[in-house]
């Protein structure tokens, strides 16, 4: 299940190289990416999706179709609510067609669904990064029993069949605020993958000459952590977080697909795909549109993460 282990890609990546010289600068990364057509395309697509997500209320106000507005005229209730017109009811009125059975505008739901997906994925990434960095550095910096405890907790969490467990927890919890629950649950099982890498790198950094020197000259622990070690973790953190976002988008969509994600009528891509399952033979567009958006978004983020990694790796090698 590729959706279950969001950071698995990362373990083959930055953990391999030890950061030597202080990290590659943001400007250099950007410069290198500009010359890569795949990266440019990905960035373009992501910018479009983000724009759609941000401007969703504005655009739906223009089209006049909100994400939860039923449009009985767009569907044929005698045929079980099949959208009228070809390609799932694609028309000037409904750019991506309408949902069968209720005539909700697919375009509006894609935009609002993007909001949900990105919000959850980015929040989860922030939370996992925070947890991962704090615990990873604690373990790597102090070593000893702190390291022992944190490492055991990480082993324990990584041994958990997270997908089954996430579904079990989410389905038994009261449905309250599902988005927050999703972020918490994803983060709890996600941080060890990042913390493991951070711990490893911190462990090597602590014994480096420049850290030893800073320590000898009487720098406080805080200064050591924030001035010497953290900046050196930056490039691997950039790579890992860019690769984590698509993983979490996939996880959120997967959980929503299984019916334990955000609750309807709040739109989410995974949930749209889930409800399109029974319609795929009659109205393939209903399935194809959210499927394509999910696929392209994950792909774009993965390509971007991959290219950033290539650039930073090259930077370190030089």
């Amino acid at each position: 299940m590729t959706t279950a282990a969001p950071s698995r890609d990362a373990k083959a990546g930055p953990g391999a190289g030890t950061p030597g010289v202080p990290a590659t600068s943001g400007r250099r990364i950007a410069g290198a990416l500009l010359h890569d057509w795949a990266a440019v395309l990905s960035t373009g697509f992501l910018a479009l999706v983000v724009l759609m997500a941000v401007c969703a209320p504005l655009i739906t106000a223009l089209t006049g179709h909100g994400p939860n507005d039923f449009d009985a005229a767009a569907i044929d209730t005698n045929l079980g609510g099949l959208p009228r017109g070809s390609l799932g009811g694609v028309s000037a009125e409904h750019l991506f067609g309408v949902e069968p059975q209720n005539g909700r505008d697919v375009f509006a739901r894609i935009m609002y669904g993007a909001r949900v997906s990105f919000l959850i994925a980015i929040s989860a990434t922030v939370l996992t990064t925070l947890l991962g960095v704090v615990f990873g550095m604690l373990a790597g910096f102090y070593g000893g029993w702190a390291d022992q405890v944190i490492s055991r907790v990480m082993d324990f969490l990584m041994a958990f069949p997270s997908l089954i467990f996430m579904i079990a927890i989410l389905s038994s919890l009261p449905s309250g605020n599902r988005a927050v629950l999703l972020v918490v649950v994803i983060s709890v099982f996600g941080w060890p993958y990042l913390a493991r890498v951070v711990r490893g790198q911190t462990l090597t950094l602590v014994n480096r000459e420049f850290v030893e020197a800073a320590r000898a000259s009487g720098a406080s622990t805080g200064a050591l952590v924030f001035k010497e070690i953290l900046p050196n973790l930056r490039s691997s953190l950039i790579v890992m977080t860019t690769l984590a976002v698509p993983g979490y988008i996939g996880t959120e969509a997967g959980l929503s697909f299984l019916g334990v994600g955000v609750t309807p009528p709040t739109p989410s891509w995974g949930q749209m795909i889930a409800s399109s399952v029974s319609w795929y033979a009659v109205d393939p567009m209903y399935f194809a549109i959210p499927g394509l958006f999910l696929f392209l978004t994950v792909l774009s983020l993965t390509v971007l993460g991959d290219r950033i990694r290539a650039v930073t790796d090259a930077g370190e090698a030089s």
Binding site: T2, M158, A159, P161, I164, I167, A168, S172, F287
Partner: protein
């Protein structure tokens, strides 16, 4: 070596114990009353109480947890008199919703999950490593670039999207495959192959893409290492160099990851099994979650954790055997 092994097994038991405790605690605290689910439609408060007693739900947490643990090793009895239900060791619990011991249910479903996992694993190993090797040897060519591009794309398709897309094209439109189902091999090898082909492809795609990229990266790294240069400078033929010196170090890390991935799959490919309606452990987990059949959810969680943890140990052992650089003191 023996001491190392003993240590690893002790750690394994500890982690499994923690998983048990944690899972039990979560369900104990969070989930709705299982007695209500078992009670059925004509439930009365007295009946709920009776069921709670029968299941031991009226006991304090640690007593319940202890009953569960001891049941694992010594078996367990529910109820009394003529209605006594004996659940022999290893008793992972008894599902009152299906009137079956959970262990029996899992044994029933495991063959399907194993078939899905093994078939997919063969597919992704062959395709992933093959494509990765070819790309590494032809680094920088159009073949390399195309393969790696496809690998990125393939790894980005959520498997349920791929599953539905394939089903639409191959089964509904072109009608070249039947709808997937858990056909037994004895029903005819061809039908068996056709029925499982799509689940295998869907499950293998993501892994194959990842393995292709990993293999390529590892082989390229190895080829650049000093001992390889030496080997080549000795005048060994490229194919021979590849076989004798590069493959083993390059593929060792893949073994590690494969072990983990495969172990995780044995616990049930939940999404794939659900989408295709294959009655494996994963689908059972999904169904049980929908019915809130707690003993089953608990057991599947534990089983999956067991596979992951044991897989971890096995991988480490294999690793030490494969890689001369890692030796246990």
């Amino acid at each position: 070596m023996a001491r190392y092994l003993a240590g690893r097994i002790a750690g394994l038991v500890l982690i499994l114990f923690m998983v048990c405790l944690f899972t039990y605690l979560i369900f104990f605290k969070l989930s709705p009353d299982p007695a209500v689910m078992i009670c059925g439609k004509t439930c009365t408060p007295e009946r709920i109480l009776q069921i709670r007693t029968l299941l031991g739900l009226d006991q304090p947490f640690f007593t319940q947890f202890w009953d569960f643990l001891s049941g694992l090793f010594a078996g367990r009895d529910y109820g009394s008199g003529a209605n006594l239900i004996h659940c022999p060791a290893p008793c992972l619990g008894y599902s009152f919703q299906t009137s079956q011991s959970v262990w029996e249910m899992i044994l029933d479903r495991l063959p399907v999950s194993a078939t899905v996992a093994v078939g997919a694993a063969v597919l992704w190993l062959v395709i992933g490593i093959g494509a990765g090797l070819l790309s590494a040897v032809r680094e920088g060519t159009w073949w390399d670039r195309t393969t790696m591009g496809l690998a990125l794309g393939g790894a980005s398709i959520p498997n349920y999207v791929l599953a539905l897309a394939l089903q639409y094209v191959l089964v509904v439109k072109l009608q070249i495959l039947p709808f997937p189902s858990a056909v037994a091999f004895s029903d005819g090898p061809l039908l068996w192959l056709q029925s499982y082909l799509m689940p295998w492809i869907v499950l293998a795609t993501g892994y194959a893409c990842l393995y292709a990229r990993l293999t390529r990266a590892n082989v390229i790294d190895t080829l650049a290492e000093n001992f390889m240069r030496t080997a080549r400078s000795k005048g060994l033929a490229p194919v021979l160099t590849m076989r004798r010196h590069a493959l083993r170090p390059a593929l060792t890390p893949i073994t590690t990851i494969f072990g983990m991935d495969f172990a995780a799959l044995l616990g049930g490919a939940l999404i794939t099994e659900t989408v295709f309606g294959l009655n494996g452990v994963g689908k059972m987990a999904a169904d049980s979650i929908a019915k809130n059949d707690q003993p089953v959810i608990m057991a599947v969680t534990l089983l999956a954790a067991f596979f992951v943890v044991v897989g971890n140990v096995v991988v480490d052992l294999v690793y030490t055997g494969l890689d001369p650089r890692v030796r246990i003191r």
